[in-house]
């Protein structure tokens, strides 16, 4: 037993909480702040369960929940995000045997985390209502050894009865889109239930982070979800910088923030073009298709790649801009924004479009809260959830962007939140390009310090990107966990489709615009 474990067992369980609000012990951390493993309370499984189950009632959300293999079994780690407090709460518990009582019934937002735990570590959440594979990882680890799993072979949910039928779609879809499998239980045109079964994109990123040479880390991060290159590389770099106590200049932080908002602009414009296309409103669809490229080209002007490959690096960024380039970027940004405005005003002015958007695929705020949704999908339900605001790190400690929310939770709300964010990101980029801090763009980084855990959150264009890394006693990675916002939100799409027309699926799907590879890793 090493020192860390001894200290854990020595009674961190009895450590009182720092404030009255936090009933159960947890290590408090900020976004992008490394903590010692010895400081993380080792709870008994029942206390650990209660912490997670009670989290929603304390306005905390399960941001991460995963396992790490230890000699005595599997240790569970949970990260709770307390939005109003700006704090993250980290706790752990060693599973005795190979099972624990599922929390899904009492805390639905852990449903997929529990399925993942079962798939990756063979730890069974007893009583989980639907323990299907998450990614069809092969072979699947179990307590009795590895077993083979076959993609698409699972015990899918089924509705039976007169005139009930099943529509099964994918993995290969009609458009240029990533693969996934969708099963609709329908009564006529009405969808009673949708089950989304993914895993087709599984490339083994998390395991590879532990086994591959360090030079592969950035290419992995840039392609976790290729349309969110800046988001994921920023989260990763923030993490390795924190674990090595390395510093980043203000200029590099500003350039990262500009690139992050450009990524948001490009993707939101693309999504709005997509929803316009899905209701057959072609002018906006066509204009936005071009405009999305204009924003991607701005990122390419920064770093040579339309998706921001090669820009964000540990210790800063790899490309600088001079005053002339800033001016030229602002000019091009202004021109693109002018056209975006004209394209989107058409969309909001068209009654036929609004009739299709309003009331379609609606989620209530309560449902969004229970499912633990993040990003645009959560804000469209009136939840003020935004990492840039709730857990500011990097440049967002200095410059704020107002949180964009809407109330109706439907396709309209999700589209409208994107439009609000487009305007705010545009204003932000414009302002920062005019006032870039001076300084170096990249500093040398230290190696990772041993026996630490760090949580890094970034508000990507889809929502909260969460990376959690744990280092071992030699300062090497012992665990690397990636939670793309899509991991939280896919069930939101499935629930939003209940009692909707099956023909509205493409529209609802595009209004969420989730990542397949970000989920499958």
């Amino acid at each position: 037993m090493n020192q860390v474990e001894q200290q854990r067992l020595a009674g961190s369980e009895t450590k009182p909480a720092a404030t009255g609000q936090s009933i159960l012990p947890a290590k408090r951390a900020l976004n992008g702040q490394a903590v010692l493993l010895t400081d993380i309370p080792n709870l008994r499984i029942e206390s650990f369960r209660q912490s997670l189950i009670q989290a929603p009632s304390q306005h905390r959300r399960v941001a991460a929940f995963f396992g790490v293999g230890e000699p005595d079994g599997v240790r569970l780690y949970a990260v709770l995000a307390g939005a109003g407090e700006g704090q993250l709460f980290v706790m752990s518990s060693l599973v005795e045997g190979n099972a624990f009582a599922s929390m899904t019934a009492e805390c639905p937002q852990v449903h997929l985390f529990e399925r993942e735990l079962f798939e990756q570590w063979g730890v069974r959440p007893e009583g989980h209502p639907h323990l299907n594979p998450v990614r069809f990882e092969n072979p699947r680890r179990t307590h009795d050894g590895d077993v083979a799993s076959s993609i698409g072979i699972a015990d899918f949910y089924r509705v039976e009865g007169d005139e009930v039928h099943e529509v099964s779609v994918g993995p290969v879809h009609a458009g240029i889109i990533e693969p996934g499998h969708f099963r609709f239980q329908c009564h006529g045109e009405e969808v009673l239930h949708l089950e989304i079964s993914l895993g087709y994109q599984h490339r083994g990123v998390e395991q590879a982070m532990l086994m591959s040479p360090v030079k592969r880390w950035l290419p992995y991060m840039e392609t976790v979800a290729g349309d969110t290159t800046i988001g994921h590389t920023s989260a990763h770099c923030q993490l390795t910088e924190a674990l090595g106590d390395s510093s980043v200049s203000g200029r590099a932080h500003a350039l990262r923030a500009i690139a992050l908002e450009l990524e948001r602009l490009a993707n939101h414009v693309g999504t709005l073009g997509g929803v316009a296309n899905d209701v057959g409103y072609l002018p906006t669809a066509s204009f936005c298709g071009r405009l999305r490229g204009d924003f991607l080209n701005l990122t390419a002007a920064l770093c040579g790649s339309r998706f921001g490959r090669g820009l964000v690096r540990p210790g800063g960024v790899d490309f600088d801009v001079d005053a002339d380039q800033c001016r030229s970027l602002i000019e091009r940004l202004d021109a693109a924004q002018r056209d975006v405005k004209s394209a989107l005003n058409l969309l909001w002015d068209a009654n036929s479009v609004q009739a299709r958007f309003e009331g379609t695929g609606a989620l209530t705020q309560q449902m969004a809260e229970e499912l633990g949704l993040v990003g645009v999908a959560a804000r469209a339900c009136g939840l003020e959830r935004d990492v840039r605001h709730d857990f500011p790190a990097g440049f967002f400690r200095l410059a704020q962007i107002p949180v964009s929310v809407a109330q109706s939770g439907d396709v309209f709300a999700r589209a409208y939140v994107r439009w609000l964010e487009i305007q705010r990101s545009y204003a932000f980029i414009r302002e920062q390009l005019q006032n870039l801090p001076s300084g170096p763009i990249r500093r040398a980084c230290n190696s990772l310090r041993p026996d630490r855990l760090c949580v890094s959150l970034v508000e990507g264009w889809r929502g909260e990107i969460c990376h959690v890394a744990i280092t071992n006693s030699e300062g090497r990675l012992a665990s690397y966990k990636i939670i793309d916002p899509s991991f939280h939100n896919w069930l939101g799409l499935a629930v939003a489709l209940r009692n909707q027309q099956i023909s509205d699926f493409p529209l609802c799907n595009k209004s969420f615009d989730l990542s397949y590879c970000g989920h499958d890793l």
Partner: protein, 266 residues
């Protein structure tokens, strides 16, 4: 309606005049590599050590870079102390044979057209089914963008279609994950013959960053015969378009529009 017309006028004409003219690419665009073995210092191995996908190979008398594996990142150019490895802004990168992607000095665009008989069938109308087999959505996005009004793929007689049964071939992105191998094979089988296969992006050519993972098959040609390789991570839309037009013999040796008589032969 009047608002739509006003907006339409405001948005203007945006379709590029490629291939009549060469496209404008970003100043910092990273294209074909240029290698100069003479600049290397004895015993220096820094570029090859830095390469995340081992695309760069240094041998005692030879230095080569496999563009099929290359992610066009900046690791080798930054590591090289003498400028022996540089990335030019050459965007015409596609090749018909895998071995043509291996660069030893300067890369020469050499995408050969399909044979005459196949061009007779596909030359004026090519329908493709796109399959993402583990792609990260960057290659997919830059294939998708070819359908927008800037590139307007339709004007070349090329179209992405919804069903393999309607297609003349498939365009594959991603390293071919184990979990997609069967679906990819079935999609290919559903395309009527004669048919072509196009691999777009480093993943589809050789596995990209995921090369060697047990969860992937290291590229499309591990399970299907590939007719066109388009390197890049992701390739620029013009790199993909150049490859497609080269395949159909629509371009002259400068990468711009071929003469009318040459087009008609197809």
């Amino acid at each position: 309606m009047i608002k739509a017309i006003i907006a339409r006028i405001q948005q203007g004409h945006r379709t590029s005049n490629y291939p009549a003219q060469q496209p404008t690419l970003p100043d910092r665009f990273r294209g074909a590599p240029r290698l100069d073995r003479d600049l290397c210092t004895e015993g220096c191995h820094q570029c090859a050590d830095a390469c995340p996908t081992d695309a760069l190979v240094l041998e005692p008398t030879r230095m080569s870079l496999d563009m099929g594996r290359c992610l066009f990142c900046t690791e080798c150019t930054q590591a090289c102390p003498t400028g022996a490895v540089t990335l030019t802004n050459e965007y015409q990168l596609a090749a018909r044979r895998r071995k043509d992607l291996i660069v030893e000095g300067e890369f020469e665009p050499r995408c050969k057209a399909l044979d005459e008989q196949t061009r007779r069938v596909f030359g004026r109308s090519l329908k493709l089914r796109q399959v993402s087999a583990g792609g990260c959505n960057a290659c997919e996005a830059d294939v998708n963008v070819l359908g927008t009004l800037v590139y307007d793929l339709g004007r070349f007689g090329i179209q992405m279609v919804a069903s393999p049964r309607h297609a003349d071939g498939i365009l594959v992105t991603g390293p071919v994950t184990e979990n997609m191998a069967v679906a990819l094979r079935k999609t290919y089988d559903a395309v009527p013959s004669p048919k072509i296969v196009i691999a777009v992006g480093a993943c589809a050519i050789a596995g990209g960053p995921y090369i060697g993972h047990s969860q992937v098959r290291n590229g499309v040609d591990s399970i299907l015969p590939v007719d066109l390789y388009v390197p890049g991570c992701p390739p620029h839309p013009y790199t993909i378009l150049d490859g497609l037009l080269g395949l159909l013999d629509r371009l002259d040796e400068h990468g711009t529009q071929a003469t009318a008589s040459r087009q008609l032969q197809g």
